[in-house]
């Protein structure tokens, strides 16, 4: 699990151009979106969904589902473990 969360953090930093942020700066349980944390927005959410689809073979059919899965690095990792290929 830890390996997965670390890999996800590196992928998030690369995909979202998070300059000056290192993987260890991202709290596995902290909210990814909103004013606190990384302050990601709707375009970032789409990029995160692409990571899940392209790298983990996850198909998200229900857009409402995405919000829950993308809450934190941990929620993403949990979902990948349960549904990934």
């Amino acid at each position: 699990m830890e390996e997965l969360t670390e890999k996800l953090k590196a992928q998030i930093i690369e995909a979202l151009n998070l300059e000056d942020i290192r993987p260890e700066d991202i709290d596995t349980d902290a909210p990814l979106f909103g004013a606190s944390g990384l302050g990601l927005d709707s375009i970032d959410a789409l990029e995160l969904i692409l990571i899940l689809e392209r790298d983990y073979g996850i198909k998200m059919s229900n857009p409402g589902e995405g919000r829950k899965i993308l809450t934190s690095v941990r929620s993403m990792a949990d979902y990948i473990q349960a549904h990934g290929k």
Binding site: A15, N17, E19, I43, D44, I49, P63
Partner: protein
Amino acid sequence: MQTGGAGQIIHQNGGKMKIYVTGEGMVTALGRGVDMNVKAIRAGRSGVAMHTGLLRDGDGRELPVMCGMVPEDVMREISEEYPSGNGTYTRLELLAAAALGEALGEAGKKDRIGSRRRKAMIFSSTKGNTGILTAESLDTELPDDVFIDVTAKKTGRIFGYSPEDVYTVSNACISGISALVVARRLIGYGRYDEVAVVGVDVLSEFIVSGFASFRSLSPELCRPYDKERCGLNLGEAAGAVVLASGPEYMPSCAVISGGSISDDANHISGPSRTGDALYFAMRDAMEEAGTSPSDVSFVSLHGTATVYNDEMESKAVSLAGLSGTPVQSLKPYIGHTLGASGVVESILCIRQLLSGEVWGTPGYNESGVPLPLDVSDCTRQVAMRHCVKTASGFGGCNAAAVFSLPEYASDTCIGKPAGYAVIRHVRLDGQSLFHASSGAGDFHSAIREKYRSMGLDDMKFYKMDDMSKLGYIACHMLLEGLQFAPEEMAVILQNRNASLDSDLKHLSNITRGAGASPAVFVYTLPNVASGEISIRHRIKGENTFFISDRYSKVKMEDYAAMVLSSSHAKYCIVGWLDFLRGTFLADFELLEKTSDSPQEVSRNRREGEL
């Protein structure tokens, strides 16, 4: 304090006039010609259908897309009429020529003094010929046709426009209405007597893959404002109108009586959560037209059927006091035709205005927007006076135009643009940027160093494309310490390359990479750079992006003075912002309005009230 409300008109020589729409032309998925399109829509037909060849999944498999394509037999017919002389015409250019040819033909029949006029053409497109780019383009010199200004002048030449009288506007999905607003001003301020406006966009894998990555495409026919709506259908089209000043009454012609542009200053792709800026555009367009909400017979909204666009529009309509006025979206008939939509849908509005009926919005059943809208899926008979047409687009831009029956339209007099002073100037090129930086001549490290040296702290900066970063830094230098209210600032920019630098990155993603990336695709519009500037500095005034092979400083300042005169703006950022393959320049001036005019200023009033 707000000064210079919309619609101020200067009495220069007392010559009253109206700006008429004297000719119209279009090609859409429903066919060629305005009459043909009107007939099809009145029969309840839609041009939106399943098409292949526009989208592939990660494994290269074809994915069908529900969209509005111009039928191939129509394309064949047009290409036979416009045989190429030197070189060939692209699909986009053929569509533009067909629409413009129809519009100019109609205008020639109605306008007897047409031959004596000073004439211009405005070409508006979201993506121009970008669809002709292939993977090979990534490693080679770019073909001339992908520069929108080249396309515009080539199209203009077919109809005898000299290059200096051809203007190009690329303002995302409001391009068409932006161009109408610009055209109205060029006539209203006496620069020309007749301006043709053409709006055109075609579909390609470039565009469709980007919208698919945004997850905004509906697999079914789109259902604007409905509870079950799930996205938009793209479409391709060309629309053209001829606007002309007319001192005398022109029967069976509508009048373009007002127009305004605003920016959300909220997000580069997500619509405003309040709808205030679209409301500002509608309010100012109505004020310029000298009409109140109660005189508006119907509103033709953008109505893309994405969840957030339609929500935002319901809020703006409510703020504008138009909740009880019939509204519609025309997207289910022809799809969202991007930069063409403003022109094509304005023509369809004029036809409704002249016929006394408001067409239904197919697929609408139950409201799915937070505030009330008077939508119907059926045609309604309405007593006509004025109609408001709106559009909104990426970069946070909004535009509204008012069309009026001539008997209800206000008179306009030739205006004089506001007086202004150039109060600041910033120029950022390779020399000045690299000179200030300790590193070698590499844009990325130099701009990052500049950003840090200015003490800025904005996570969003790193996500911007290079042109936006350049504009962002230049604007910080330009506006430092200046206080202004959101509506008091406008942004009028120009460049040669539109967003080609980011276009090539998106092209690389879809041809050689892992597929479309939303964070890259969103920057494939030049006006997103002005949107970033507007977000950072809370600018809600006009954002207009012109394209030209070189900076037309005199014309841009002249247009900025028109904006200062006919909007709430007290200041205007005007300049050149370009970036392609590492070559760049930002050259911005800040204009401050000094006076409305030395002459008497009076409100635009309806005849009889003067």
